[in-house]
């Protein structure tokens, strides 16, 4: 999709941001090492396309460092600091959120605040408490820039499963009727942990407590029903709950292989995308439990010692360009929902979003139900630790 001319005109006419021109100037000729999870080919292709765009427009090229886990990039920055390399670091931009962001922010490993200085930030609702201003309830404070929306969904094959569970509690009965046909990624993986959090949100007696940093008492109190639920579910999981797929991609492969009947994703468009790619049967569909699911925003952050911090800001800004966001939301490209605030877009941008194609397996926003906020990041860490303590022998 080419950029609508009118959009480019709006951009060009943007008020001159003090300093932004200096950033553009310094960024020219830089290569940004963008450390991002590399397990999804469509995302990889999208990042490659963004790189072509920024190269053409701003003279900033992108080198996608494909990670199998975001923590690898965090470790890299940490070992650089351990070695006293406080400038000229090897990581320029990280696709990050949740605990990794919290860890880096606490350790002062991030560059910024920089988000407010990005010209395209005016299309995003950054008011306190807005989804793009919070990451796992931790205030972002301009230290990372949003780029795509994530919402937890389940994927199932409608040819094999007539009626998927309607609530998280319902998974126990469903698994008892279909032993060995359901599993979740290992909780040491982000998606596995999210599955547990989703259940926690439904089963906990007081959701408000989950938004606060975790305490021993609150943890014991709120997670008791979760462990009872999990103990009932686990014997009927795939391989008796003794082994788990490494991540959601592997689980999607298992769904295609027929090893399980349900898989999960943080991208509502993933099922439609996988069908288009030949990776799932045509009959794959998406469902969410009643009462809604966890949603969050994916961010990009810049390490404190990034060698190409200016280039990284240019990339972060370009990711918020309405034309780029519309392309990202295109099911034929990536199908990730945009982080822009529709109220802040002009008519041309609205038209670009309205013209996007649709697909049978692509849910509408209404299908997806309400979006539940992520618990505070400290809950996730405690949850995965406790799970490992209970179920790893």
């Amino acid at each position: 999709m080419r950029l609508p001319l009118i959009l480019m005109a709006t951009l060009a006419a943007a008020p001159a941001f003090a300093g932004w021109n200096d950033t553009l100037e310094a960024a020219r000729g830089q290569t940004v090492y963008w450390n991002a999870w590399g397990g999804d080919d469509r995302t990889n292709a999208f990042i490659a396309w963004v790189g072509e765009e920024t190269e053409e427009r701003y003279g900033v090229s992108i080198e996608h460092v494909r990670l199998s886990d975001t923590a690898e990039a965090v470790t890299r920055v940490i070992s650089e600091r351990a070695a006293g390399r406080d400038a000229d670091g090897s990581v320029d931009l990280i696709w990050i959120n949740g605990p990794n962001f919290l860890a880096m922010k606490r350790q002062d490993l991030l560059f910024g605040p920089f988000v407010a200085d990005l010209p395209n930030a005016r299309y995003v609702d950054l008011s306190p408490g807005a989804p793009a201003a919070l990451d796992f309830t931790v205030p972002v404070e301009g230290m990372e820039s949003p780029w795509r929306l994530a919402k937890f969904v389940f994927t199932y094959d409608s040819a094999r499963v007539a009626s998927p569970p309607r609530t998280m509690a319902g998974f126990v009965d469903w698994a008892a009727e279909n032993p060995g046909r359901f599993t979740h990624p290992d909780p040491s993986n982000f998606m596995g942990a999210t599955f547990l959090k989703q259940a926690l949100l439904e089963l906990a007696s007081d959701r408000e407590v989950l938004l606060e940093p975790v305490t021993d008492a609150a943890f014991a109190d709120q997670t008791a029903p979760l462990w009872a639920w999990y103990d009932a579910l686990r014997p009927n999981l795939w391989r008796g709950g003794e082994a788990f797929p490494e991540n959601e991609s592997v689980q999607q492969q298992m769904l295609n292989d027929g090893e399980v009947d349900i898989s999960m994703s943080f991208d509502p468009a993933s099922a439609a995308a996988a069908i288009a790619q030949g990776l799932l049967p045509e009959t794959a569909r998406v469902f969410v439990p009643e009462g809604g699911t966890i949603g969050n925003v994916s961010f990009v952050a810049i390490p404190y010692n990034a060698a190409n911090a200016e280039g990284a800001q240019v990339v972060a800004n370009h990711l918020l360009d309405p034309a780029v966001q519309a392309r990202m939301q295109n099911i034929e490209v990536l199908g990730s929902f945009s982080v822009l605030d529709p109220a802040r877009l002009d008519d041309a941008a609205h038209a670009a979003f309205d013209a996007l194609p649709t697909a049978p397996a692509l849910p509408t926003l209404d299908d997806l139900g309400p979006t539940l906020p992520e618990p505070h990041a400290s809950w996730m860490t405690r949850l995965t630790e406790e799970w490992a303590r209970r179920y790893t022998r």
Binding site: G38, G39, A71, A82, A83, D186, R239, N256, T392
Partner: protein, 578 residues
């Protein structure tokens, strides 16, 4: 006479110098960094990591390590898979040699083994994972017979006992050991011993165990130790085929090293020390067994049992090895098929639809990874070849054999668990500002390529007909001319074989590329392992096919080039010497 002696002495002196220069290079490039890396890891392992404000020596990291859920299971798994894979591989390889020796020319066996040696561990593991999984090729073939409409519920890969990992390791290690044993056998008059043994009424298998193996064992002890060290500390294969909750120790450590919780680096370093101690203990055990075996063996040989019944054992070993080879071949084939598939759902034995899409999509980015892999392999292998030739030529000129410690030095990188020193080394390289550069990765590859190149080149070099350089010398050729005009052309076949081995070792490196390249230097192997945790087997298939195809092509060239250049020199053709 006095004048004639002078140049010879000069050459010897020259040789000593060359030898010393090579030794210094190897020590500085090999031993020092490994030691320094270990020191860094050890410091972190006992709680000294100034960067995160830890300065006091304590056992806290070890306590934290023991506290990690599943640590003891991980330890048990590591021992089971490491020892299991090594012991079974040695037994099978010996059995096959006993059964097949003399029935197949070295040339044919070389051809048969080459693809298995060339295929990197990660590619093999990815292929085997598809072949063996409950929804894999074997299960799909059985599904119509058994009436499965869904994949059977058995854990055939990532099983909690690590059996799939043992199987995968064996697919790679049996061919390696076969090659090593075959080359050792060429130094022993096997036929005569066999004939003598049979005429005394011993069964074929018993002659092998009682007479030939005791002579072979000292020659293959070091390679077996390499296999043992590798099996105990393997990462890429264990990631793909091994259990996951908990995984083996090496994978557990990699997880700790890459955790967002910085504090975990210290228990991870402590774990790296445990891993090193584990390997050291395993070597101790092997040497103790060696001693015990000698005493028991002597008593056993003197007892004089004829043991005709060992024969079925040999055939079982051969049949099992046949299964391993077939599985390996099918695994590689499955990768190729996946790379050409579009939709391939259960229970289809072949893809529903085909596509060249993954090969022609630039988004999959295999071209860049292939380029990096080629650069690294070419540079590391060239560097190691030059060093190896200099070392061997130095030995020739100094007229000295190799000391035991020098032999150990060559093997050192293969015997020390990688995770033990790579983390510390990375910190060191970062301080020097070298991390993430091609040079750092080339050097790290050379560390592991050099031993194999030396091993591949040493025996043919020593087997060189000494008359030829002597004849050249008497015709007035100086030492350099003798090297370039006589020795190297004659040694073309072993040189190319060493190159092929070097390239395949470099292509297969996972942890060194990951750590030293700071993730910036993407090779076919790092990408294939990363992609193996994604949902698209078709792209994984492309990477793994290239990863296996590249070394295979080099091996092919190592066969073809001498065959073409030496087409009118029968005794120089590949396989002619052995």
């Amino acid at each position: 006479m006095g004048t004639a002696l002078h140049p010879v002495n000069a050459a010897a002196k020259d040789g000593r110098l060359l030898r010393a220069a090579v030794l210094v290079t190897v020590a500085a490039g090999l031993v020092l960094p490994i030691a320094a890396g270990f020191l860094q890891t050890a410091r972190a392992g006992v709680g000294v990591m100034p960067a995160i404000g830890a300065a006091d020596v304590s056992l806290a990291p070890f306590v934290a390590l023991l506290d990690i859920p599943g640590f003891s299971t991980a330890l048990r798994l590591t021992l089971l898979t490491g020892f299991g894979a090594t012991a079974l591989s040695v037994m099978l390889a010996v059995g096959v040699c006993a059964a097949m020796h003399g029935r197949m020319s070295p040339r044919d066996s070389g051809r048969l083994l080459t693809p298995f040696l060339a295929a990197p561990h990660a590619a093999m593991a990815i292929g085997l994972a598809f072949l063996l999984s409950p929804s894999g090729w074997i299960a799909r073939a059985l599904a119509p017979l058994a009436g499965w409409d869904r994949p059977p519920m058995v854990a055939t890969v990532n099983d909690p006992a690590g059996l799939a990992l043992i199987f995968g390791l064996m697919v790679k290690e049996v061919p390696f050991l076969l090659l090593v044993i075959l080359s050792a056998l060429s130094q022993i008059p096997v036929r005569r011993h066999l004939a003598a043994g049979r005429s005394l009424g011993y069964g074929r298998g018993i002659v092998w165990i009682k007479v030939i193996m005791p002579q072979v064992w000292p020659l293959i002890r070091l390679p077996v130790m390499v296999v043992l060290a590798y099996s105990l500390s393997v990462v890429d294969m264990a990631l793909i085929l091994g259990p996951s909750n908990p995984p083996t120790l090496a994978v557990l450590l990699l997880r700790l090293f890459s955790s967002p919780d910085i504090g975990l680096m210290m228990p991870a370093s402590a774990g790296a020390l445990v891993q090193a101690a584990l390997v050291a203990m395993a070597f101790g055990l092997l040497l103790a067994l060696d001693r015990a075996g000698r005493a028991i063996g002597r008593w056993w040989v003197r007892r004089g049992g004829r043991g005709l019944s060992a024969e079925p054992g040999l055939w079982i070993a051969t049949a099992l090895s046949g299964i391993l080879f077939a599985a390996g071949a099918l695994a590689m084939l499955s990768l190729l098929v996946w790379s050409l598939a579009w939709r391939w759902p259960w229970p289809g034995l072949a893809p529903e639809s085909w596509s060249l899409n993954t090969w022609t999509t630039p988004g999959s980015g295999w071209a860049g990874a292939l380029g990096n892999t080629l650069i690294l392999a070419a540079a590391a292998t060239a560097l190691c070849l030059v060093l190896a030739i200099a070392w061997l030529e130095g030995e020739d000129r100094a007229r000295r054999g190799r000391a035991g410690w020098a032999e150990a030095l060559i093997y050192l990188p293969l015997l020390v668990p990688q995770i033990g020193f790579l983390f510390g080394l990375n910190v060191l390289f970062l301080r020097l500002g070298l991390s993430g550069s091609y040079l750092a990765v080339i050097w790290a590859h050379a560390l592991f390529v050099f031993p194999y190149v030396m091993i591949a080149l040493s025996d043919p070099w020593r087997a060189l007909d000494r008359q030829l350089p002597r004849a050249a010398a008497s015709l007035g050729a100086g030492p350099w001319r003798r090297l370039f005009a006589v020795k190297l052309p004659i040694l073309l076949t072993p040189l190319l074989t060493a190159t092929a081995i070097g390239v395949s070792v470099s292509v297969a490196q996972y942890l060194p590329t990951l750590f030293m390249g700071a993730g910036r230097v993407a090779t076919l192997t790092t990408e294939a392992v990363t992609l193996s945790s994604s949902s698209d087997r078709r792209i994984t298939g492309v990477y793994a096919t290239l990863q296996a195809g590249l070394p295979f092509a080099v091996y092919g060239a190592a066969f073809l080039i001498p065959a073409l250049l030496h087409r009118n020199r029968r005794d120089l053709l590949p396989g002619a010497a052995a």
